[in-house]
């Protein structure tokens, strides 16, 4: 059957060089070779240094200010302990920033779409001004304003005898554990905290149960309302039953500082203020875009069934816009967490600042940088995990 008459001649075998598999292999081989060369060169260039993480276990011999709830002495503790103090400082700023910037950002984003001309223009100005200014300059500017614009502590700006603004920081009232009316031990506060947690868990289950009932019967069972009632009632009743085991301490000036209450230091204030406003201006744009992306029929339908403006926003518009905005907001959270390193500009002792001190004292720049990048990556990972969990809870899986 080898005699073929007519038709095409049998195709000549493709030369090796033009075969796809061979070319892929060749390309990868060349690529790996070049990459290996580059890595080899970098390793070679950095080879002259001494390596090892032992320096982290030696005494730090420097102090870190702006600690809160902890008081770690830098002269006796190791460098690694002081680095952990820095991480705690970063975590504080990031948590406060994410919370406040979300609230502010949603408020400004919604105001941007308000039918009220003045309100919407003010929201627009807020976004345009703060989004286009370098965050670093903003933080430095806030710091200058707090340090040099606010009065001396002796004649601090007094807001109703509870808040005090001075160039030593912003003093605010703060709850302190207390034995309560019956003069019990201080751990009554912890008992109350446990009661509040129990009330929260109970409220969660009641809410779930009522949601199920609502779904089964089609009748309203007000899950959110009952959940909040149970939580607030539980917290209040236990608070009263334990004899008010908590007092709110109002700041009192003693000498050149405030004795009670909580003083937000200028560094923390400037950093948090700058980060919050900057992040909020981006979140506001995301909120606006995701609300505008909703079909107009949603607003019209809400109007048609007679919802008020507030109900329309909270029951119809925001829940749907939330799904749209979570990925972008997550990105902004990640940016904000990394931007907290600009604390360096106001000498707020965050993890980058502490790491930089360590590097200045002992060198080991490569190891210090490895520490920095691993910390930031873990922080980003934590934020992503939480936000992805939220996203998966909110995404509609069933129609």
């Amino acid at each position: 059957m080898t005699t073929m008459t007519g038709g095409l001649p049998p195709p000549a075998p493709t030369p090796l060089f033009f075969r796809r598999g061979f070319r892929n292999l060749l390309a990868q081989g060349v690529y790996v070779g070049v990459t290996a060369l580059v890595i080899f060169y970098v390793v070679q260039a950095l080879g002259g240094r001494e390596y090892g993480f032992g320096f982290l276990n030696q005494p730090a011999a420097f102090d870190v200010g702006n600690q809160w709830l902890i008081n770690v002495d830098g002269t006796t503790n190791t460098r690694f302990t002081m680095y952990l103090v820095g991480i705690w400082a970063t975590a504080r700023v990031v948590m406060v920033t994410l919370l406040l910037s979300t609230v502010l950002g949603v408020a400004v984003g919604v105001a941007r779409l308000s039918p009220n001309w003045l309100l919407s223009k003010m929201a627009m100005l807020f976004v345009e001004i703060f989004r286009n200014m370098p965050l670093f300059v903003q933080i430095v500017l806030w710091y200058a304003i707090v340090l040099f614009g606010l009065p001396q502590i002796q004649n601090a700006l007094d807001l109703g005898d509870t808040f005090f603004l001075s160039n030593r920081g912003i003093a605010v009232p703060w709850p302190e554990p207390d034995g309560g009316l019956y003069g019990g031990p201080e751990w009554l506060t912890a008992v109350w905290a446990a009661a509040v947690a129990a009330a929260a868990v109970a409220a969660w289950f009641v809410r779930r149960r009522r949601q199920e009932l609502e779904r089964e019967t089609g009748q309203p069972h007000y899950p959110n309302r009952w959940g909040i009632r149970l939580f607030a009632g539980g917290a209040l009743v236990s608070f009263l039953a334990l004899g008010l085991p908590l007092t709110i301490d109002v700041p009192v000036l003693s000498g050149t500082d405030y004795a009670e209450g909580l003083t937000l230091r200028p560094e923390f204030t400037a950093l948090t203020l700058g980060l919050t406003i900057y992040t909020a201006s981006f979140i506001a744009e995301i909120v606006r875009a995701s609300i505008q992306a909703l079909p107009k029929g949603q607003t019209e339908a809400a109007n048609a069934i007679g919802l008020s403006g507030y109900q329309r926003l909270t029951l119809v518009i925001l829940p749907q816009a939330l799904r749209q905005m979570i990925p972008s907001v997550t990105n902004q959270y990640l940016n904000a967490s990394k931007n907290s390193s600009l604390a360096y500009g106001v000498s707020y002792a965050d993890l980058f600042f502490v790491a930089n001190i360590i590097q200045n004292k002992i060198g080991h720049a490569v190891e210090v940088f490895a520490l920095i990048i691993v910390t930031y990556m873990l922080m980003s990972l934590a934020i992503s995990v939480v936000m992805n969990f939220l996203n998966s809870r909110l995404t509609l899986t069933r129609v």
Binding site: N116, L118, L119, P134, Y376
Partner: protein, 409 residues
Amino acid sequence: MTEPVAGARKVVLPPHRVRAQRPLGTRAREWTRENLFPSPAQAVVTLLALAFATAIVALAVYLVLAAEWRVITVNRWLLFAGGFPQDQEWRLWVSVALVFPLIGAAFGLWASLGRRDLLFMALAAGFLFFLARHGDAGWASTVWVAGSLALFFAGYLVCRLVPREPGRARSIATWTAGGALALALPAVLAVLMAAGGARTNEFSGFMMNLILAPVGIAGGLLLAIPLAVGRASSLRAVSWTCTAYIELIRGAPLIGWLFVALFILEDVIAGDLIVRTMVVLAVFTSAYIAEYIRGGLQALPHGQTEAAQAVGLGRTRTLQLVVLPQALRISIPPIVGQAISLWKDTALISAILPLRELVGNSKAAIAQPEFIENRIEVYVFAAVLFWIVAFVMSRVSQRMERSLGIGER
């Protein structure tokens, strides 16, 4: 046709035309009621907002009047050019005069200047003239500013003559302008440095921001395209290393990478610190831009690749002629966003590096005993300078989004 013919139909104007014909007072009253006081609740909101706005405006006016701006006018050179040799000032002005008409041409080709843009530009020009007139430089800088602005408008007007419809004239104009824009950066560097000009370690002040940001963006874009294609590649070795690179770079904040430029890269890359900073900015930006381009690649329907293969294009040609042009077009807005972000990030170079860009020189200005009280003024001025450029860039990106028809089909 002036007299209405008897029996002819009366012309009925649409409602908005009827409303527009009423006297101004009525319209203003109606607008106020609709937009500010539609309901009692809204009226309260309006009044509260008005009180808040008034307080802020009053505070701002008071601060501007109470502030002492002499610190800016005296330190004008320090803030704008710092350590740049003073006798080479003409090199700076020639660079400005080189770049302004190109920006004007870009506006003329891809956007148009509306009434608001002109108002904004008039304000910015007034600000520039004010700066140029105060201080010690005499009339020379005023003439340079006026000339540069004239060149901007010349570039704009010439490019407005180019027809908007795709055609031979337009494609010639676009390619010329695009090429000139691409060459602008090397040209400016040549003007600044060639034949006895400044050395790289003499770059300083606002000028340094204006040079570092474009270098970072251009370098980042050039690095990002192969990175994005590499990450999407089917070759495992390539896609894994590209992914690792991108995630590593995005893992640490820019200030951390500047730390690397200062303490680690000195052993790896020879050259001035400013060269290492440029490399770090480009590498940092490339990771972010690569992710945006990857987004563009993923947004492209797979049918595009299949269609290209069906008409017999090879893999390289498919990428070059079909996939990349469309993916890049989709990712232009976020890339401009990244450019704005990098522009703002150049403000933190002086925070850690011994380089003196605008913020660093602001610190130097405050360090003078005479101006130690004026730090707020100096930082406000720096913030305003950064803001102007970033605002213009964000406007350009919005225009581009609209004129490229992204998000529409």
